[in-house]
């Protein structure tokens, strides 16, 4: 089960277990080095990115927005964590030659064809709805899924059930139709 397959990455059990260790090490490191316990998360960074971008054109509007004020529009620990994911994935994929410039993913292509425009529209609209939902639910599969479940938070179990349950229904409706 934990055997490393060179052709197709690492066993997901092994890579996942290592993320578990990373999550614990990260909690320990933020507590001792920063004096506050930070758990892995990603979606708040998108609020900060939106605030930083909006601030370049409408600084007063951002300063007066309750949600931006509450979320603190700064490049903080989590913002750098999310940025770091890009570089980690880039290094890993270049090193094992799994880096691919993919225009349209295979499952999408089978249902909607090779149009980049359609894929762009789907990804954009899906992104708007998903992030709106993640901010309402106060977390995504990182904050609720990983960090919340590890802490045995009741909210995480409900959130993950909703994420996946609705995801299954919508995916079947969208990709299974002929």
């Amino acid at each position: 089960m934990l055997k490393r397959k060179t052709s197709d990455g690492w066993s997901p059990y092994l890579a996942g277990a290592l993320v578990g260790l990373l999550a614990v090490a990260s909690v320990l490191a933020t507590t001792t080095l920063m004096g506050k316990t930070n758990y892995l998360g990603a979606s708040t960074t998108f609020v900060r990115a939106a605030g930083l971008l909006e601030r370049t054109v409408a600084p007063d509007h951002v300063a007066g927005n309750v949600y931006f004020t509450k979320s603190k529009i700064v490049v903080d620990w989590q913002f750098m964590l999310v940025s770091g994911i890009f570089f980690g994935a880039l290094v890993a994929s270049v090193a094992d030659r799994s880096f691919r410039l993919e225009h349209v993913p295979p499952t999408w292509k089978k249902r909607f064809g090779p149009s980049i425009g359609k894929r762009a529209a789907g990804a954009f609209l899906g992104g708007v709805v998903a992030m709106f939902g993640a901010r309402m639910a106060d977390g995504c599969p990182s904050g609720h899924g990983l960090s919340g479940m590890m802490q045995l938070s009741a909210s995480a179990f409900v959130a993950l059930a909703m994420f996946f349950g609705v995801g299954v229904v919508v995916a079947h409706l969208v990709y299974r139709r002929k």
């Binding site: 940025s83 994911i85 990804a123 954009f124 059930a161 994420f163 609705v166």
Partner: protein, 176 residues
């Protein structure tokens, strides 16, 4: 960059490396799980949770860290969770994996990232209205599973392990 930002960056690089090695960043892996055909992302995520759950609760018992539960605000979690699930199915990435997918060359993730930034901006605009509606329906506060079930965490954690290991055995048997 300050030390907090460096620490975040280092953690993120390792996180992204492992997400890529586990092959969970891809649209087809994420949608494959939602189509119940490929459970790679669950093998990965549940393995992380199993290990992290033990480590984090040990650190709590040693008095080194404190937990930070997100409140169980029922309307927000149910409606927000449903919206997330629907968007996730179409987008094929979650917030963290979209950034990693871009890193491994799946550049259409860029449209998802721009969409998510727009979704966050929209939420910021509508937040006052959310506060008086969905967020105000029923907030059960910071509940944890031991409080809900009445079982101790060192009873629940082994139960969770047994359940997940059983699930893994089933995934392997069914070749999911």
């Amino acid at each position: 960059m300050n030390s907090e930002q460096w620490l975040g960056l280092l953690t993120g690089v390792l996180f992204g490396f492992l997400l890529q090695k586990g092959r969970v960043l891809r649209f087809d892996k994420q949608v494959g799980a939602m189509l119940l055909k490929d459970m790679t992302i669950f093998k990965f995520m549940l393995s992380a949770i199993l290990v992290g759950m033990v480590g984090i609760n040990l650190l709590v018992d040693l008095g080194i860290i404190t937990l930070s539960h997100k409140p169980l605000n029922v309307g927000a979690i149910v409606v927000g969770g449903a919206l997330f699930g629907a968007g996730w199915a179409i987008m094929g990435f979650c917030p963290g994996t979209s950034i990693g997918a871009l890193g491994e060359g799946r550049w259409h993730a860029l449209f998802a990232i721009v969409g998510m930034i727009a979704g966050a901006a929209l939420y910021a605009e509508l937040f006052p209205w959310m506060q008086s509606t969905v967020l105000a329906w029923k907030d059960l506060g910071k509940l944890d599973l031991p409080q809900v079930t009445g079982l101790g965490k060192w009873v629940l954690i082994p139960l969770f392990w047994v359940g997940c290991l059983g699930l893994f055995a089933w995934f392997e048997k069914k070749n999911l």
